[in-house]
Assembly symmetry: C2
Homo-oligomer: 394 residues x 2
C-alpha cells in the first residue's frame, strides 16, 4: 500500500496522486535509455517499465525518449494512460520497485518543441512594461484588450530545467548613447510564465470549447530576457535576440485535467470580445488558479498569481489558430510574464525594480515553482524550472 511504502509522499506534497506529471528520465545504469516517468513526491516512477511488465497496451507509448507520441495520441488515450497509472498506484504495483529518487536520475527536455509562441496575457505586466518601455504613450496599446498579443519565439533554444543559461552578448543602445555598443547583456532578466503543451494536432482553427481536446498539459517557463538587447531591437518587428538565447521549461508536464479543481473565472473584460474569443457563456471558467513563486538564490522575490491573467489559455489557442494556422504535436505556447496587481506579485525584475535593476548577476540561480488547489484541500504541482546564470563567453 502506498502509505506504507518507503516512497510514501508527505502530507501536502504537491506531487501526489492528483498531479502525476510526465517527464523523461535516464538512470546512471541505463544512460542511453531515456523513457517516460511520472513524478511522485521526490521520486520518479518508471511507468515505462511498469507498463511493460504489467502488460499495458500503452507500454510502447511510455517507452519513448520524448512525450510526443503519447501527446499525439489524443485525449481518450491520455485519460486511459492516467487511469492505468492510478490503477497501478491503487493496486500497490507502483511505487513498488519502480521508484527512483529524483537525486539519482537525469531529467531531459520532456517533449520535442514544434513551434513556440509567447503571449503577453497579464494586464498588470503589459501595463507595467508599457510604462517603462514607452513612457510617452498609453501603457496598453489599443489592441491589447481586444486580442491576446503574442509572437513566435525560438523553438530550438527551449531547454529543460537545470540547464545553465549563458549570459547573451548583443547590441544595446541607451537613448543617451551616440551609437550602439556590443557586449554581454547588462540587464539580464527572468519572466515567470506558464506554458501549455499541444498534443493533438489541428488542421485549422481550435475554438474555445475544443481547448481540452488539444492541450495535453501544463509546464512552467522561464523566458529569460536581455532587456538592453530587447529595448534596442524590438521596434518594429518585436523581440528577437533579447529572448532567443534560451527559454527554460520544467522537466515535468502536468496533465491539464489535474487542474480541474483550479478552474476560475478570468478578470472581467473591459470591452465585449469578438465571438471567437468570447468566453462569457463558457460552461467552465477559463482561468486557472495557479500560484507561482520565484526565488533568486533561495530568496523569494515574488508570488505571481496566474488567476489574474486577462487572457486565458483557451483564448490564446483560439486566437493563435483563428487565421487557419495549423497546430502540431509539440507546439508550446506560454502565457507571457505572470504578474498580479501587488508589488510582490510581479513576474520579472523589470517590473520588480521599476526598470532600474539590479539585474541577474553571473552565478545567480533562479527557481520558479507553482501549484494549484486540488480536490479536498490538496495541492497539485507544476514542475519547477531552475536555471543558473553563467558568464558570457569571450
Amino acid at each position: 500500500m502506498p502509505q506504507h511504502s518507503p516512497h510514501a509522499i508527505p502530507e501536502g506534497d504537491p506531487f501526489g496522486p492528483d498531479a502525476l506529471p510526465y517527464g523523461v528520465f535516464t538512470t546512471p545504469d541505463a544512460p542511453d535509455h531515456p523513457r517516460i516517468g511520472v513524478r511522485h513526491g521526490a521520486f520518479v516512477l518508471d511507468v515505462a517499465t511498469a507498463a511493460a511488465e504489467h502488460g499495458s497496451p500503452y507500454a510502447d507509448l511510455l517507452d519513448q525518449p520524448v512525450l510526443n507520441p503519447l501527446m499525439a495520441a489524443g485525449r481518450p488515450v491520455w485519460e486511459a494512460v492516467r487511469a492505468e497509472i492510478r490503477g497501478l498506484l491503487d493496486a500497490g504495483v507502483l511505487p513498488g520497485g519502480y521508484a527512483r529518487s529524483l537525486d539519482e536520475v537525469t531529467l531531459h527536455l520532456p517533449f520535442e518543441v514544434a513551434d513556440y509562441v509567447d503571449f503577453y496575457a497579464s494586464e498588470h505586466h503589459a501595463s507595467n512594461v508599457g510604462r517603462i518601455f514607452r513612457p510617452d504613450s498609453e501603457p496598453l496599446t489599443p489592441n491589447w484588450k481586444h486580442l491576446p498579443i503574442g509572437y513566435h519565439g525560438r523553438a530550438g533554444t527551449v531547454v529543460v530545467s537545470g540547464t545553465d543559461v549563458v549570459r547573451p552578448r548583443g547590441q544595446r543602445k541607451a537613448p543617451s548613447d551616440a551609437a550602439p555598443s556590443f557586449g554581454p547583456s547588462l540587464r539580464l532578466d527572468i519572466e515567470a510564465e506558464v506554458g501549455f503543451v499541444v498534443g493533438t494536432p489541428s488542421p485549422g482553427p481550435v475554438p474555445l470549447e475544443a481547448f481540452r481536446d488539444h492541450v495535453f498539459g501544463v509546464c512552467l517557463v522561464n523566458d529569460w530576457s536581455a532587456r538592453d538587447i530587447q529595448a534596442w531591437e524590438y521596434v518594429p518587428l518585436g523581440p528577437f535576440l533579447g529572448k532567443s538565447f534560451a527559454t527554460s521549461v520544467s522537466a515535468w508536464v502536468t496533465p491539464l485535467e489535474a487542474f480541474d479543481a483550479a478552474r476560475t473565472a478570468p478578470p472581467s473584460r473591459t470591452y465585449p470580445l469578438l465571438p471567437y474569443l468570447d468566453d462569457s457563456a463558457s460552461p467552465e471558467p477559463g482561468g486557472l488558479d495557479l500560484r507561482l513563486e520565484v526565488r533568486i538564490n533561495g530568496e523569494v522575490v515574488s508570488r505571481p498569481p496566474f488567476s489574474a491573467m486577462y487572457w486565458t489559455a483557451a483564448q490564446q489557442l483560439a486566437h493563435m489558430t483563428v487565421n487557419g494556422a495549423t497546430l502540431r504535436t509539440g507546439d508550446l505556447f506560454a502565457s507571457g510574464t505572470v504578474s498580479g496587481p501587488e508589488p510582490d506579485q510581479l513576474g520579472c525584475l523589470l517590473e520588480l525594480t521599476g526598470g532600474k535593476g539590479p539585474w541577474l548577476a553571473d552565478g545567480d540561480e533562479v527557481v520558479i515553482t507553482g501549484w494549484a488547489p486540488g480536490r479536498d484541500g490538496s495541492r497539485v504541482g507544476l514542475g519547477e524550472v531552475v536555471g543558473r546564470v553563467r558568464p558570457a563567453t569571450a
Copy 2:
C-alpha cells in the same frame, strides 16, 4: 551525351549543370517513396536511384524523404555529392533513364523546417513600409542600419510551392473604426523573398566567415501577409497572425556554391558596423546578384533585385546567433521582402500600390521566379514558388 538526349536542356535554361538544385519528389508509380531528386531543365533527375544503382557512398543520404540528413552532413559531403552528380552527368549516366518530367511527379516540402526567421533587410522595402504604417515617424527606425531586424515566424505553416493558400480570417480595425471586426482578410498580400537553408548546426555564434560552412542552399519564399490583420496586431510584439497562416517556399533548394559567380558587393553602409557585422574587409563580397520576378495571373508585376539588399545573408546569420542562439539543421531564414529603388522593383502589393490596393483576390495565382548570373553568361536558377489564393473557409 547529354546534348543528344531527349532530356537535353534548352540553351539558356537556368537549370543546367551549374544549378542542380535539390528537391524531394514522388512518382505516380511509387507515391509512398519520396526521395531526393535534382532539377535538370524541365526534368527531375532521380539521383537517389542513380546513386544506388551506381554504388555511390551517398546513396543512403539521397534516398530520403527530406533533405535534412544530407543538409546535416556538412559542406565537404555537399561538395562531394554535387561532384558525384556532375560526374554522372558528364559520364552520360544521367539523365539516362533517370529523368522524369516535372509534369509527372509530385514535389514535396524539401526539408523539415526547424526554426523560421524572417528578416527585413531591404532598405527600400523597410522605408516604404515605414512611410505607410507609421506616417508620422521617420520611415526607418533608429536601429535599422545598425542591425538586421528580424523576427521568428511559424515553422509549422511553411508549405511547398504549389500549395493553395486559404485566405485567412482575423481581426482588423482601421483607425476610423470604433471597434475591431472579424472576417476574411481584405488586404491579402505577397512578399517576394529569398530564403537560406541551414545545414550544419552550430552550438553558438556563426561569424561572417563561417557562413558557407553552415548554409546549405537557397530557395525562394513567398511570405503571404494579411495587411489588415498585421496592422492591427503588430504593436508592440511584431507580426503574428498576419503572417502565420502560410509561408510558401520553392520545391527546390539551390546549393549555395551555385551562386559563386553572382557574388556582389552590398550597398555602401551609412554607419560603421559593429565588428561582428562588419563585412568591409571580407575577402568575398557578401551580396548576391539574384534577380526575382513576380507574376500575378501571368502578368509580371515586379522584378525585385536582391543585389540591392542592405543586409547580407551572412550578416543575418551572424546576427541571429551572436547572442549564443544555437542553429539546427533545417533552420530557414528569409531575407524579408526584396525591393529595389525603382517602382517596378517592389516585392509586395503594399508597396506596389502605395498601401491602397488592389490586393489579392480569391483565385489569383502568384508566381515568383529567380535566377542569377552564372559562369560564362549562363543562368543559375532558383526554383519557382507558386501559390493560388483560395477563398476563406466559412
